[in-house]
Amino acid sequence: MTSPSSDTGAGILRLHPDGTASRGSRILGIVVLVSVVVFLYVALVASAPDKSLDAQGQLVRIMYLHVPSAIACYTAFFVTAVASGMYLWKRTMGWDALAASSAEIGVLFVALTLLTGSIWGHTTWGTWWEWDPRLTSTALMFVLYLGYLALRRAVLDPTSRAKQSAILGIIAFVNVPIVHYSVDWWRSLHQTATVASLDPQIDGLRLFALMFGMVVAMLLYVWLMMHRFRLAFAEAALEAKGLDLALAERRAEARADGGTVPPSVKTEGAS
């Protein structure tokens, strides 16, 4: 097993030459798989359905997917913000890779949150969308981080991209509570009594199911992060190697144009 030579804060994560898996991630993957199966059993079979609803009663179980994925997406964006700050402090590309990977996975979880939230809402409201404050601010957060990903795609220079998206990553997270607070307050003024907000009625086994669900979501997040981060890390290492090649080509061009490589430059291979 090899690890990239440049200093990038990879820590204990080691890259497998054939892919992004490792013993650690395989073990974790099995743990996640088992937990998901157990969780699904607890959530979908063992815990009691909401007695007030009949056919929809079963569908309300979707909240067991909704709340954990919401937790996961907030965690992901928090990690992005912290990693962004660390990049601005330490200026090593590993932090940038961490921030970007976490944002991507976060966007995935937000989409899942919105989807499951809409389905859950359907069981309570009968319609697919009722401008529930939490779902609405989640939708805004979705677009906010799509913008972050769009910025990353728009900047070509790696250092520039890292710096600009780091600043955006922090500011975007600062926006999240502002958006939440304003939307919450706004809806509290306008919400009619018939539209209930999505709140799980939790007790006993249901509470356990929810808590377990959150743990499962976090494990899933970590597992996805391991792979995505390693991929980003490998891409950065590849870019660094490409750079060495480009430097050699440029110096060859110098000799071809009749110049000479200056004496202070170390010969290739000595770096």
């Binding site: 805004l140 677009v143 769009a150 958006v179």
Partner: protein
């Protein structure tokens, strides 16, 4: 030391906003293009909603701020289009202008243009939608505070997008989620003013004030690195 830094920051801001106002006076882009656009948006709203004036009148607070937001995107893009032509941005980096001062100057320029747009839009909704406002002070304060927040956020995101080829499509997607709270707060404050029940309206102004202060602070610190990378 801090006083000197603040003084030079404000002086540079004054230089930049003076230059931007002079540019506007010469080119008349806001006057001849963005202003008509804003009025056009008001007219298009009437086509989209039932021209029965009740609906338009009731929705006036929201429609006003929507028109402001759309015009704001153009104003920000224009503000930074002049800085990204012909090596001007290099000249800005090479000059001794305090980047925080440049930020405040650009924000002030955008803010002044927005205020002019808002005054015209206000006349527009009063005439076209038949809304008659009470609570004039609340309306004025809301406009000033919301504009400060929009201008500060706009100046910051504007420089972020400025150097990119895709800036025209990226800026809206970056800015609009960020200024959604301003849209909500502005609409609520205007609704309170129009309904003559100003109590809640002032609380929304508090939110606008907090938003503005936050973005002015962020901009003062974050502008320099973003200017370097543009």
């Amino acid at each position: 030391m801090a006083d000197l830094a603040a003084e030079s920051m404000l002086r540079d801001a004054a230089m930049v906003v003076g230059k931007d106002l002079r540019l506007e006076w010469r080119s008349r882009v806001t006057l001849s293009q963005i202003l008509p656009f804003a009025l056009l948006v008001l007219i298009l709203f009437a086509f989209a909603l039932d021209p029965d004036r009740r609906i338009l009148e009731e929705a006036t607070p929201g429609l006003f701020w929507l028109a402001v937001l759309f015009s704001m995107l153009l104003a920000i893009q224009r503000a930074y289009a002049v800085e990204t032509t012909d090596g001007v941005i290099d000249a800005l980096r090479l000059s001794d202008l305090d980047p925080a001062g440049i930020f405040l100057g650009k924000a002030a320029g955008i803010g002044l243009h927005l205020l002019v747009l808002e005054v015209v839009l206000f006349i527009g909704v009063t005439v076209l939608y038949g809304a008659t406002p009470h609570g004039g002070l609340l309306v004025v304060v809301t406009m000033l505070l919301a504009t400060a927040g929009l201008a500060a956020a706009g100046s910051l995101y504007g420089v972020l997008a400025a150097g990119l080829r895709v800036r025209d499509t990226l800026l809206p997607i970056l800015m609009l989620p960020v200024v959604a709270p301003v849209l909500i707060a502005g609409t609520e404050a205007f609704s309170a003013a129009y309904a003559n029940s100003s109590g809640d309206g002032w609380k929304w102004c508090g939110l606008l004030a907090a938003f503005s202060v936050l973005y002015l602070a962020i901009g003062i610190f974050a502008f320099e690195p973003l200017l370097e990378e543009s």
